[in-house]
């Protein structure tokens, strides 16, 4: 059986058993959307900013999901067994795949949240763009999250270190995802053609960090002590 699929399935099985994502992260993400509304206090502003806010909420939620993904591995020292049985780059792709599935689900929830809470209206011809954006951006989030999650796994104080490391790296993704989602939500500044250009940036980003992650996982998971 494909090792990557085996690892991804295992992560998703654990998620299914514990319902961490559904019970904790989804409510958190929706809560963030609500908090934005409370803080910004202006419906026109919310509507205009909806795309960016959705991606901000997803970025913050990603921190939680990534921490959880690696906590599962480091809790009982399973990571050592995993690395003894499988190639590091396969472990990387396996965990990134599972992360992708979870973040995609979260992304869908947040878009629905934006429609409901912020009054975003998505016309039929822009749905394809929207779906493509969510898929490609989530892909980038998954690989970067897995990579940096491994960097801080097992470190004391990692909860505060992960955001510091990961958010600057995610800046291009945030910019590209927000702009293209603005186009998908029907903004005046950005037309659909531009939106697709930003999707290009997202794809390049995901490919670059996907490859980098696969290469970096071996040195990162070597043991010296």
């Amino acid at each position: 059986m494909n090792v990557i699929a085996v690892i991804a399935k295992k992560d998703l099985l654990i998620e299914w058993r514990t319902r961490t994502l559904m019970a904790r992260v989804v409510p958190f993400a929706l809560l963030v959307l609500v908090m934005f509304a409370v803080a910004l206090d202006s419906e026109p502003l919310l509507l205009r900013a909806a795309a960016g806010l959705v991606w901000l909420a997803l970025l913050f939620s990603t921190m939680l999901v990534v921490q959880r993904s690696f906590d599962v591995e480091t809790q009982d020292g399973v990571l050592d067994t995993l690395l003894a049985c499988a190639n590091p780059s396969r472990v990387f792709f396996g965990k990134a795949t599972a992360l992708f599935v979870q973040l995609f689900a979260l992304g869908v929830v947040l878009v629905v949240g934006a429609v409901v809470l912020y009054g975003v209206a998505i016309s039929g011809d822009r749905v394809v763009l929207l779906v493509t954006v969510v898929v490609s951006a989530t892909g980038g989030l998954a690989v970067v999250g897995t990579l940096y999650g491994a960097v801080v796994a097992n470190l004391i104080g990692r909860d505060s270190l992960l955001p510091l490391l990961v958010l600057p790296v995610l800046a291009p993704l945030l910019i590209a995802a927000s702009r293209s989602t603005e186009a998908a939500f029907g903004s005046n500044t950005i037309d659909v053609a531009n939106g697709w250009a930003w999707v290009g940036v997202l794809v390049v980003y995901a490919v670059v960090f996907g490859s980098a992650g696969a290469l970096a996982f071996a040195p990162l998971t070597e043991s010296d002590a």
Binding site: M1, V3, V6, I7, K10, L13, I14, R17, T18, V72, Q75, D76, G77, V78, D80, T81, L82, L83, A84, C85, A86, E222, S223, D224, A225
Partner: protein, 228 residues
């Protein structure tokens, strides 16, 4: 199952020094263990037992001396030994939210073992259907140990390195563990386990190596009950 190691030697250390952040946890270990042996590693806290096991598992670098495990030279390519060796440390390496069977099945899928292999491993370790279907979080220490060992079986690890596997087990569980370990050597694996305890009745280990100050101070072959 015959041993696949050409030289027939599982572990060969000569003057092995392992310095962790300047401190020589191992200060010149000389040791030779042939394939299929069952060896107890004794010594108090801080004598280097855990480091020795981790060295043989390829997890710490060799600072000085020679070390060859399963025909892999640790000085040059210790990463290669990782998949041949099964290290069971103080933690079990199990996913708490999966059942015992799922844990073993997961590793089986990674290494390409079959369902039958999983069943065989569970049976050999005395894990019945009920325990196998229980989440690891709900299992006792002894049951978790056995699950971890079942994973070593399914991985076909040629060398078992166990760090104080008897700790936290009651007398009955310890007896059962001893049987399992001897059983493993009969299938061709080499088993080295670290233990705190002085010789006690029931523990019939042919060979005991004692560490102190990061070196081997005694290597006794007990002529007692049971041959290898």
């Amino acid at each position: 199952m015959t041993s696949f190691v050409a030289s027939g030697t599982a572990i060969s250390l000569s003057g092995a020094v392992v310095a962790l952040r300047g401190f020589p946890a191992l200060a010149g270990v000389d040791m030779t263990i042939a394939c299929g042996e069952l060896v107890a590693l004794r010594g108090g806290n801080g004598t280097g037992k855990s480091t020795l096991l981790r060295l043989c598992a390829g997890l710490v670098p060799l600072t000085r001396g020679q070390a060859t495990v399963l025909d892999v030279e640790l000085g040059k390519e210790r990463a290669h030994v990782r998949h041949l060796v099964g290290l069971m440390g103080h933690r079990n390496g199990l996913y708490a939210d999966l059942t015992a069977r799922e844990n073993v099945q997961f590793v089986a899928n990674l290494v390409g073992a079959t369902h039958a292999d999983v069943d065989a491993a569970l049976q050999r370790l005395g894990i019945d259907a009920r325990v196998a279907a229980t989440r690891v979080a709900a299992l006792s220490a002894g049951q978790r140990r056995r699950t971890a060992l079942a994973i070593l079986v399914v991985r076909r690890a040629q060398l078992w390195l166990l760090d104080e596997p008897h700790a936290g087990l009651d007398a009955v569980a310890r007896e059962e563990l001893d049987v399992i370990l001897r059983d493993a050597t009969r299938s061709g694996a080499t088993v080295v386990y670290a233990t705190h305890e002085v010789d006690r009745p029931g523990l019939a280990t042919p060979r005991t190596i004692t560490l102190q100050g990061g070196r081997v101070v005694s290597d006794e072959q007990s002529l007692g009950r049971g041959t290898r």
